[in-house]
Subunit: 296 residues, 2 copies
């Protein structure tokens, strides 16, 4: 079985490193936009061979992972489906992008006779503030979750092939609907990033910015860590998951408003109830997360 | 010089431990609400002697630190000023509460002939998720900032005595106005706590709560860590700093609204500008914080 990887950044290169010891793949073939990245991947033995176009991955491999940024992945997925549909035996196509709905809609817009049975959309819940081939780590997915969002017409063999890929990288694979995936990620990842960005930007543009940043302490540092994430990546994620993100933002704003009303009215029972419910949920979550030691 | 400490929890007991080696104080006298706490403080040599009322600290000591929760501190400060005003040579009175405006207003409401010159309101920017005498650490204030908010009528000697106290604990002492203190703390500490509580509570009461908490990853954990803080302590801080906190909440909500509008309109230049400004400020802050290694 030949594995093709489109995009040799943190995710693609880490996956190649992670599955190498399994010997599941006779060859790992890569395609990257930048020649220096491809060169590094070859020199470090991350890939066995490079091809000169994404289309060649489709014609030469049994399984192709698209590991490029969210909006680029959307465009490339459509292109690769076009190439794959020319073939008698198309490879399994999968991806690692943070949003699934935009990919689903892009495929839907192709108005194919049926959903391409060889496509399995997926998302590894793993990452790092670092990016690029030099940041690649064989253990990036170890004990992390991967969510697959197959359709009813997806070939069960294709699902098995993608499951095997991520399990070889040490991940735990589960499936859910495209919509639930995007709702859950909006709430737990995309919304917090937007709030951290909005908070830091609001404070940075305040009249008191100098005093505020001078006295910002450790709690503030943790709370705003994710505001140091890559702006372009997060712009694309926000656009790709726009509908669910706006809903999550509105739910959060309503929650803030309830708390604001309670503080303004000095309604101490409501304030205490909100804080206690939050602390209880957070403490439960903490003990679960500490067990699974995940990170996003 | 005799040091009196009212409240033998994390802050009071840590300060006693921290200043002991300096030998600045001939005796460290404590008063605590709970007998078991007082007993522990005596047994561990944190205090030399316990008294049976807060009033005795005022009559027997040269410097008294009120180290009790925010709203209790307000009530006790008023009581201790009453006792001190009976004395020919009142001790210096200071505190360690998270909000200064409520204390200032409580003193102002006494309508004394003049602001008590022996009172120096202060706030060490240090803490821990743990609390109580058992969590006390001699290095809690080491290289942390302490903000004092003296008035124009405050006795310079009183300011010097309080400065000496915190410097003996390894802290860096600075002064600012009551209002600026409360504005800065609202932005950097009180607001983030409210947002973390509101976010976790909103998600916990959502229809998707089970899925959301099952898939919450590391970024979410950091972002919501402060939602595990003590609900009663934070209810009191929110009440004490209500005016500044509501202003900070409204500024933040306006910032979120600007970002929401940009996402809804798919206004990518505005989205990118917000994210980049936030990342730039956050990265600057991070390098400063890493140097000073503060925590709140």
């Amino acid at each position: 079985m030949r594995l093709g990887i489109l995009g040799l950044g943190l995710i693609g290169a880490s996956l190649a490193k992670a599955v190498r010891p399994s010997q599941l793949y006779s060859e790992i073939v890569g395609y990257g936009h930048r020649q220096t990245t491809v060169q590094t991947a070859l020199e470090q033995g991350i890939i066995d061979r490079a091809v000169s176009s994404a289309a060649e991955l489709v014609s030469q491999c049994d399984l192709v992972l698209i590991a490029t940024p969210t909006l680029l992945a959307e465009q490339q997925l459509v292109e690769l489906i076009g190439h794959a549909n020319q073939l008698e035996r198309p490879p399994v196509l999968t991806d690692a992008a943070s949003v699934k709905g935009n990919l689903w809609r892009a495929i839907d817009a192709l108005e194919l006779p049926q959903w391409p049975s060889f496509v399995v959309l997926g998302h590894p819940i793993a990452g790092s503030e670092k990016s690029g081939v030099h940041a690649a780590r064989a253990d990036l997915f170890d004990r992390h979750r991967v969510i697959l969002t197959p359709q009813s017409s997806t070939d069960p063999t294709a699902i098995a092939v993608v499951t095997e890929l991520w399990e070889a990288a040490g991940a735990e694979v589960m499936t859910m609907s495209v919509q639930l995936h995007d709702q859950v990620l909006a709430a737990t990842s995309h919304l917090p990033h937007m709030l951290a960005y909005a908070l830091v930007e609001t404070l940075a543009t305040s009249d008191l910015a100098d005093d505020i940043f001078q006295f910002a302490a450790g709690g503030f540092r943790d709370f705003t860590r994710i505001a140091s994430s890559d702006p372009v990546m997060w712009r694309d994620i926000a656009l790709a998951n726009r509908t669910e993100l706006l809903l999550a933002l509105d739910q959060f704003s309503a929650g803030v408003q309830r708390l604001r009303t309670a503080i303004e009215a000095e309604d101490t029972p409501t304030m205490t109830a909100i804080f206690e419910r939050a602390k209880g949920s957070r403490d439960d979550l903490l003990s679960k997360l500490d067990r699974s030691s995940q990170q996003d």
